[in-house]
């Protein structure tokens, strides 16, 4: 049995050895085809392969933090200097300021509505948008004289009002009001429930 087995292996090896040298022209053709294939430039770039090491990951995170720090320096400081120098500020985004977000509970969407058929434009101003007349404009509804806007608000008590046509202060007819001892105009009051 062992003799048969050895003989079989030996015959197979002999055949394979003979085949490997039998057709050198075929081998030459294959090599020539491989060498002639067009090479793309990106194949020569030594891209890092996943997974990264812990050190490499840490470096990437550190780089992103540094990038964020310089972005903040570039966007915030000149803005304050411009403002304090009396130059007009850029139009703010209608978002809840970071200062009002605690992180404990997500802001909840709150819709503000007003019906005023004579208004040409209405803005929402309150402690949640820095009382900025340009931060949160209300959009006109399909029915004439209806205005609304929906914004996310953090939990707690908020005071606000509507500014109609850029000059008329108006409390929300649908909300409670609160006295204002500082400036003498009543504010509307809203308590946003935390989940």
């Amino acid at each position: 049995m062992d003799a048969d087995h050895d003989e079989l292996i030996e015959r197979a090896a002999t055949t394979l050895r003979r085949g490997a040298h039998r057709n050198p022209r075929a081998i030459a053709r294959i090599l020539a085809a491989v060498e002639g294939r067009p090479r793309h430039w990106w194949r020569s770039v030594p891209w890092p392969s996943a997974p990264y090491s812990l050190a490499a990951t840490s470096l990437l995170i550190a780089a992103s933090l540094i990038l964020g720090f310089f972005t903040r320096q570039a966007t915030e400081r000149p803005r304050n200097e411009r403002e304090l120098a009396g130059l007009p500020a850029a139009r703010p985004l209608p978002v809840v300021p970071a200062a009002r977000v605690t992180g404990e509970a997500l802001p909840l969407p709150v819709q503000f509505t007003l019906r005023d058929v004579r208004a040409a434009q209405v803005a929402l101003i309150g402690d949640f948008n820095g009382w900025s007349p340009s931060a949160t404009p209300l959009e006109p509804g399909d029915v004439a004289g209806t205005w609304s806007v929906t914004i996310p608000l953090s939990a707690g008590r908020h005071v606000y009002a509507f500014l109609v046509d850029g000059k008329t202060w108006m409390t929300d007819p649908r909300a409670q009001t609160s006295r204002d001892l500082d400036f003498g105009h009543a504010n509307s009051v809203l308590i946003v429930q935390a989940p």
Partner: protein
């Protein structure tokens, strides 16, 4: 880690910076004198770590209400003091929302020590909503001590933010309907209390000196 993940990580601090940059800006119509006065208050607040955006927002509120620069400056300075007191009373680590809510409570006449007692009642949860509820109750005409005792008792007995919110809404509605504020608070507080487990012991607020 893929390149896409790297870029997403890069965007997080950038986005946070952009949101922060929108936090507060003094109205462009403010005159130079007011601008300088507000700047002084802001610099002072920044130097002691107070949320300066609230001061700018107060100035903007005055500008929107067409108040005089003197009145606006006084209001901003007074707010700065309230923020400082609120932060002290709500120590050790109040959030900006809590400091703002504490300053609002002080504004309507809530005594400063009550903030400290509320912090003791809820040391590990945000006081933004309870302080807002208390502020609204006092603003509706309730004595600050009475309102604070009720809110703090509810907090000590495990009332949720939703229950505190419901209390404030109910009292608001009752007062608007012509009820006396104290009667409304008493009735609505009983309603919430009935849903809570009995108090384990007298709270620090109801027994401030610790006497039996």
């Amino acid at each position: 880690m893929t390149l896409r993940r790297f870029f997403l990580i890069s965007l997080v601090p950038c986005a946070a910076s952009a949101v922060h940059a929108q936090a507060a800006r003094l109205d462009a119509t403010a005159d130079a004198g007011l601008r300088r006065a507000v700047e002084r208050e802001v610099v002072t607040a920044r130097s002691i770590g107070l949320p300066e955006g609230l001061l700018i927002a107060k100035a903007n509120e005055g500008i929107a209400k067409r108040a005089t620069p003197k009145r606006i400056t006084d209001a901003v300075a007074a707010l700065g003091k309230r923020l400082q007191v609120a932060r002290t009373q709500l120590a050790p680590n109040p959030s900006e929302d809590e400091i703002a809510a504490g300053a609002d409570a002080l504004y309507v006449g809530v005594p400063a020590p009550i903030l400290k007692k509320m912090r003791a009642a809820w040391p590990n949860r945000s006081l933004a909503l309870p302080l807002g509820v208390l502020t609204e109750l006092v603003a509706k005409g309730l004595p600050a001590d009475r309102a604070a005792r009720t809110v703090t008792d509810l907090m000590t007995r495990g009332a949720s933010n939703v229950q505190l919110y419901t209390l404030a809404q109910s009292v608001q509605g009752d007062v608007a309907a012509g009820w006396a504020p104290e009667a409304a608070l008493d009735l609505r507080a009983r309603g919430v209390m009935s849903l809570l487990p009995p108090a384990p012991a007298a709270s620090a607020f109801t027994n401030p000196r610790g006497k039996p």
